[in-house]
């Protein structure tokens, strides 16, 4: 038998100090990770330099790039977007391609790192010579890619709802901007007679920007914001925040929490005796695939604001859902970002066909008014701000984990990323 003497007390102490330092370093790194955003320029002001494009359209194929996080913390979400992009590409190829050319996909992994997104975007444009890139999820990844697309004068199709206040002629935004998701969410609460709203969100750019807009909206519409709380990303102890919520006398909650935090929040919400009937929660980051992880029991009856649900009734959606399930399995739900990504590929196809060219300048010129009968309903590209007109839905989470629309806007809402059409929003952007 061997003995393993423990190290002396001094070396234990040193070990302790070193491990404490290592932990501190790890903490600092993770804290920076949340805030790390590459500087991006807002607005479509960059000049279209970058020389002649190297896109090769002489053969039977044309290359396009898919750029999503397939590893790292965002992989859970972005993999679903990649799946629906693959489906769209397959369908388009089977139907004869774009302008008679088959799509050749160059796929890259953004690894949940904004800097990697920027590097890979550069690689896709400069060495793979793709005609357009589809992908990105977090605002920090988009902000990191934006200068690349502007300086190389290429096109990015970005499929996720975001905080607005941005427009670039090199990016097409096919997810919702604030006036297509957050404002309809507030409109719905106002319609329901809610007067005191509590805001809870994760502590990063999207919730803080969204809540700035909600505060301005509330002031103009006679709604009182009775509390505004932020939890660090990954935060799982909501006892205090829910205590404050309960004490605030709120009659509704607007929730911009991300990821795991939702589970802890909704479990705590239910445990302290808050109910959907008295204090409904409107969430903007919970889609079909998240509901299972939160636990249907904990969240049934709660509200979400999106532009698409798997349950949307249209022939286009029936086809989309069936095709998706046939390719990836019956247990896989479809969600808003997936649908927006799927739609983005068809919108690009529509623009190319209208322009009869794969060239960026021709596409930008042809973009305005291009429309597509998407699973969510008909969407139309706005040539001025490169967002798309979409229908807003407020949905209720059903006992089966799917989301059912309880309210929808009168037709597609024109995108207004800078909220220029709202008097109360002056000074926000």
């Amino acid at each position: 038998m061997t003995t393993h003497p423990l190290p002396s007390r001094t070396s234990r102490k040193r070990a302790l100090a070193l491990s404490a330092a290592a932990l501190a370093a790890a903490l600092t790194l993770s804290a920076c990770g949340g805030a790390r955003t590459a500087a991006g320029t807002d607005g479509g002001t960059a000049s279209a330099s970058g020389g002649a494009s190297c896109v090769d359209t002489s053969g039977d194929t044309v290359k396009i790039g898919f750029l999503n996080s397939l590893s790292g913390t965002m992989a859970i979400s972005e993999q679903t977007v990649r799946d629906s992009l693959d489906l769209a590409a397959e369908e388009i190829n089977a139907a004869g391609g774009v302008l008679g050319k088959q799509l050749e996909i160059v796929a890259e992994d953004g690894a949940s790192e904004p800097t990697v997104f920027a590097e890979k975007a550069d690689k896709l444009i400069s060495s793979d010579c793709v005609a357009a890139v589809f992908g990105g999820w977090t605002s920090s990844s988009r902000k990191a890619m934006l200068p690349v697309f502007e300086s190389k004068n290429s096109l990015l199709f970005y499929p996720v709802q975001y905080e607005g206040l941005e427009a670039s002629k090199n990016i097409f935004y096919t997810g919702a901007t604030t006036n297509q998701q957050i404002i309809p969410g507030m409109d719905y609460l106002k319609e329901q007679g809610k007067k005191k709203v509590f805001l809870v969100g994760s502590d990063y750019v999207f919730p803080r920007t969204a809540n700035k807009i909600i505060n301005a909206y509330a002031e103009a519409n006679g709604i009182e914001i009775v509390g505004e709380e932020y939890a660090p990303l990954g935060h799982t102890d909501f006892a205090t925040i829910v205590n404050k919520l309960k004490a605030s006398g709120a009659d509704a909650v607007f929730n911009t929490l991300n990821g795991d935090s939702n589970v802890a929040f909704f479990k705590e919400y239910k445990n302290v005796g808050l109910t959907v009937d008295a204090t409904p929660v409107v969430s903007v980051s919970i889609a079909e695939e998240e509901v299972g992880g939160i636990g249907v029991d904990n969240i049934v009856g709660q509200l979400t604001a999106w532009n698409y649900y798997q349950t949307v009734e249209s022939p286009e959606n029936t086809t989309f859902v069936a095709a998706f399930k046939a390719k990836y399995g019956d247990d896989r739900p479809t969600s808003d970002p997936m649908e927006a990504a799927y739609t983005s590929l068809y919108l690009w196809k529509g623009m190319v066909e209208k322009a009869e060219s794969f060239a960026v300048a021709d596409i930008q010129e042809a973009a305005d008014g291009v429309s597509f009968d998407a699973p969510e309903g008909t969407v139309t590209v706005n040539g001025d701000n490169h967002h798309i007109a979409k229908t807003a839905y407020i949905g209720e989470i059903g006992p089966d984990g799917l989301i059912y629309s309880v309210w929808e806007s009168d037709g597609p809402i024109e995108p207004d990323p800078f909220l220029e059409g709202y008097d109360w929003a002056e000074g926000l952007s």
């Binding site: 038998m1 061997t2 003995t3 393993h4 003497p5 423990l6 190290p7 002396s8 007390r9 001094t10 070396s11 234990r12 102490k13 070990a15 302790l16 070193l18 491990s19 404490a20 290592a22 932990l23 790890a26 903490l27 913390t73 992989a75 859970i76 993999q79 502590d203 709380e229 932020y230 939890a231 660090p232 990954g234 935060h235 799982t236 102890d237 006892a239 205090t240 925040i241 205590n243 404050k244 004490a247 795991d260 939702n262 589970v263 802890a264 479990k267 705590e268 239910k270 445990n271 302290v272 005796g273 695939e289 998240e290 299972g292 992880g293 939160i294 636990g295 249907v296 029991d297 904990n298």
Partner: protein, 294 residues
Amino acid sequence: MDALFSQLFAGLSLGSVLLLAALGLALTFGQMGVINMAHGEFMMAGAYTAFVLQAFIPDAGISLLVALPVGFVVGGLLGLLLEVTLISRMYRRPLDTLLVTFGVALVLQQLARDVFGAPNVDVRAPAWLSGAVPFLGMNLPKTRLFILGLAIACVVVLALVLKLTPLGRRIRATVQNRDLAETSGVSTRATDRLTFFVGSGVAGVAGVALTLLGSIGPTLGTNYIVDAFLVVVVGGIGQLKGAVIAAFSLGIVQAAFEYSTTASLAKVLLFVVIVAFLQVRPQGLVSVRTRSLA
């Protein structure tokens, strides 16, 4: 007044979660000096145990009660395996245990992702734990009371084991003076293994308890590992008593900060307090007295 008591309870409840997470670590890190970064992943293993059991036992209440001992064994066996295969080779190199166990933690996370999938899963809470108990005008959530009770039970059992059983005596003897214990006929090798089994087992139990509060995902452990180390360091190395006091103090302080400021700021303030405290008392709240000559 209501708010004060509610927050006090929130603090106690947070403290009990911290205590459960740190208790096993107080044994393996505190008593043995092994920096086990995979401790959080043992908690994750306990949580997934509860999830798997729920698939076989339809009654959520029974499956939770079954999951507690099974989670202990699952966490314990993982810890035992880690001790036998890797840690036993590096008791002389405590810093290397940090790197090795960090690697093990990453492997376990990926394993969980491959087996259970990347999205989080949910464990249903039993019906008798839903809702709240009215008390002095407050509503105390039953899940939090359950976790508080569980944490206290774990401390009591662990304290009794350490104080009264032959295993406990061997553990204490080994910690106080390993060479003398060895000479007196204590198999320190076997003691090491058992200590690791118990410490990791408690992590498994903590994981089962956490399913009542939040989500179960591959990164569940990383959310708690830093807090668990903090509790052990603040409490004083090698002291159960210290861990208990530290866990509840940190819980209450954090809840108080969080109520008066914000969740993000509370975390920062808590670290400031801890750093200041460690300047005054680097050995932690309760310091160990050993007969070791070194």
